[in-house]
């Protein structure tokens, strides 16, 4: 988020940590305000009677997408300086599934578990221990699975590059998908709420 400012040399390493801390506090605050400090709320997503997680996350994506697009268009943000996580398609699908399974079992995702930890929830403490155990196991297993983890290296690719479609069209498509998704999610909520 602060990468362009950081790279332009507007502030140094130490100050970037302070900025990261402030951003982290804000992130945690809004997660808690959205109710994501509670595993019940998060688990409700998977029972389909409360689609808040889907709505909040997709809203964040659309907001950021539009913000970045317009800032880039105005020339206020240099998109070439924004760091992109390199794509490894196969390993990231597997990783996403592992995270999803953990999400369903534990009722948190990594960010929300920390937010819940800050409010003193015991299940979040257990979940955080699980994160440490998982990180440790991954680090120990890394030499064995290194080949797979680094497979399918596609570099820092974006949808416009892969599809060949113009950036703006992808932006519009994602916004349409989001709005249709919100509408669909509301219908799904109604259906599953009435049948407990």
């Amino acid at each position: 988020m602060m990468t362009p400012l950081y790279k332009y040399g507007f502030f140094g390493e130490e100050f970037s940590l302070l900025v990261a801390f402030a951003l982290g506090l804000g992130f945690g605050f809004f997660l808690e305000r959205a109710g994501f400090g509670s595993a019940r709320k998060l688990a409700a997503q998977f029972y389909l009677y409360d689609m808040s997680v889907f709505k909040v996350m997709f809203t964040a994506i659309v907001t950021a997408l539009l913000g970045v697009t317009y800032l880039g268009w105005l020339g206020w943000l240099d998109l070439d300086l924004v760091y992109l996580v390199p794509t490894h398609l196969g390993p990231q699908i597997v990783g996403g599934l592992v995270l999803g399974v953990g999400f369903v079992i534990g009722g948190y995702c990594p960010g929300t578990s920390v937010a819940a930890l800050a409010t003193g929830r015991i299940d979040a403490v257990v979940y955080a221990l699980g994160i440490f155990a998982g990180t440790f196991a991954y680090a120990e297993l890394y030499p064995a699975i290194k080949g797979f983890v680094n497979a399918d290296a596609m570099g820092q690719v974006t949808l416009p590059e892969v599809s060949g479609l113009p950036w703006g069209l992808i932006v519009f498509a994602v916004v349409v998908i989001a709005v249709v998704g919100f509408w669909g999610a509301t219908l799904v909520e109604r259906r599953f709420r009435s049948e407990p």
Partner: protein
């Protein structure tokens, strides 16, 4: 006409859709088009802070400094025949796609000085504020670093300076020349063979970027 009553969520969705629709026309990437601050560039050129003297560059290489990237703008054959140690070969036409960061110190050189000056202008226009040229290009590198010469009527201070230059010349495989006002013609000069291959980071390995993990 009366507008239908919308909930706040529906209004936000409508705004998002509108912004998304307008964004179809957007050009968020800069692309090959650039903007120039002519006055600023003119000032930089006038103050002569746009270049690095060959001797200064030589000192950086001897010290083993790694806080800059040295780009050789000549052809691959010329680069293979001889290049300044630590230089990366980037033909002028490939400069636009070459992985460089805007906060890196970039030092350019070509045979004389014209290509590097042109590349310098292109880079500065694209926001690479720390771009520099080797003054006089490879020709000056040859005359001043590899084969420095001492005029016959040199004073003591010049001689002391020359001693140091001679050491640097030996470091790079060249040799100092005493006394000759007019040095041997450039064509007869045998450029040092690149025996000990200096570290030349190729384009496949751009500088390590800081890894950032992001996610929910």
């Amino acid at each position: 006409m009366k507008l239908p009553r919308l909930t706040i969520n529906q209004k936000l969705a409508a705004v998002a859709l509108l912004l998304g629709a307008v964004a179809i026309l957007s050009q968020p990437h800069r692309g090959p088009f650039v903007k120039l601050d002519a006055r600023e560039l003119a000032a930089v050129v006038a103050q002569e802070v746009d270049h690095v003297a060959p001797a200064e560059l030589a000192a950086w290489i001897v010290e083993g400094r790694a806080d800059y990237r040295l780009l050789d703008l000549r052809s691959a054959e010329e680069y293979a025949a001889y290049h300044i140690p630590t230089a990366e070969n980037v033909p002028l036409s490939g400069l636009g796609d070459y992985p460089l960061l805007r906060n890196e110190k970039i030092v350019l050189y070509s045979e004389g000085g014209i290509h590097s000056a042109q590349a310098w202008m292109l880079l500065r226009a694209q926001g690479y504020d720390a771009a520099y040229m080797v003054l006089g290009g490879l020709e000056a590198w040859q005359d001043e670093v590899l084969f420095p010469s001492l005029p016959a009527d040199a004073g003591a201070r010049e001689r002391a300076h020359f001693e140091r230059a001679a050491q640097v010349a030996r470091f790079f495989g060249g040799e100092a020349r005493m006394g000759g006002g007019a040095a041997a013609p450039a064509a007869a000069v045998e450029l040092p063979k690149l025996t000990a291959p200096p570290p030349t980071p190729g384009p496949a390995t751009p500088v390590a970027r800081k890894k950032k993990k992001e996610g929910c």
